[in-house]
């Protein structure tokens, strides 16, 4: 069952234990929707401030890591007087199932939303088995 969350506050990303971040900018976990069909899995992540040049997707050992770099929000000649959200980079990792065809993963970014399509491998697709009479 999919649960719907209505969080408006960005969640800080976890840091692997025994390691600290070197930069003072915060890193957030992007909110993600995951949809699955028979043929592929689609992952949609909210990453405002990120375009196709500043996003980085890496696949290592079955773990898909998505990183988005956001340049500091700045309005020329203006000072920040009231802030309800902070600006920072995005990072989130997912463990992929074995059924994903690693070579055909596709991704696109539009309006700060990242979409990753993970096709399922051929062997994982259900095959119809012909039943012969006699």
């Amino acid at each position: 069952m999919a649960e719907e969350k209505k969080d408006v506050v960005k969640r800080e990303a976890d840091v692997p234990s025994r390691a600290e971040r070197t930069s003072s900018r915060p890193t957030f976990l992007p909110a993600v929707d995951i949809y699955e069909s028979e043929k592929d899995t689609v992952l949609v992540a909210d990453m405002p401030g990120v375009d196709d040049k500043s996003v980085n997707i890496e696949l290592e050992g079955g773990v898909l890591t998505v990183t988005g770099e956001v340049s500091d929000e700045k309005c020329e000649g203006h000072d920040l007087v009231y802030a309800e959200y902070r600006v920072g980079d995005y990072q989130r990792s997912f463990r992929l199932a074995d059924t994903v065809d690693r070579d055909k993963i596709g991704a696109s970014v539009k309006n700060g939303v990242l979409r990753i399509v993970l096709p399922k491998a051929e062997q994982a697709l259900p095959k119809k088995i012909q039943v012969n009479a006699g």
Partner: protein, 143 residues
């Protein structure tokens, strides 16, 4: 027998102070339903203009309505998160969707004819210059 010396320590002002503090705490406490709805925004101020930024990923510019009246700016936006197709089942849904309305009090009266809004990479930035009539006038002091 020693009578208590009220000059040293009197419990009554202490208790009434505690009562006042409790009253203040209950009055200021805002339950979750009263928290502002919708995405958070940042407010920037310059010498002659101010700017409001809101993170609205995936929202097209035609789904955003901005109106300005004196020193109040109202932002209305609608976001739809739809599944990629009919045969897709949602496994996880963390992204919110729906309509939201937010009214911001600007630090001064803005000129509605000169307000500029731009959405780039999913971040909406609305710049509102100050109304000419609202700018303070310098008064020269005669000697």
């Amino acid at each position: 027998m020693l009578w208590p010396n009220w000059d040293l320590w009197n419990p009554w002002p202490e208790m009434s102070r505690l009562q006042r503090e409790m009253n203040r705490w209950f009055r200021d406490y805002q339950p979750a339903t009263q928290r502002p709805q919708g995405p958070p925004l940042n407010l920037w101020q310059g010498s002659d203009s101010c700017a409001v930024t809101v993170e609205l990923p995936g929202v097209a510019s035609k789904d955003i309505e901005i109106s300005v009246l004196d020193d109040q700016m109202t932002i209305r936006a609608k976001r739809v998160t739809e599944s990629p197709g009919e045969d897709y089942a949602a496994v996880r849904r963390e992204r919110g969707s729906g309509e939201f309305v937010r009214t911001v009090q600007l630090p001064f009266r803005a000129d509605p004819n000169k307000v500029e809004a731009e959405i780039k990479k999913g971040v909406l930035c609305v710049k509102a210059p100050r109304l000419e009539a609202d700018k303070p006038k310098r008064i020269t002091v005669k000697t």
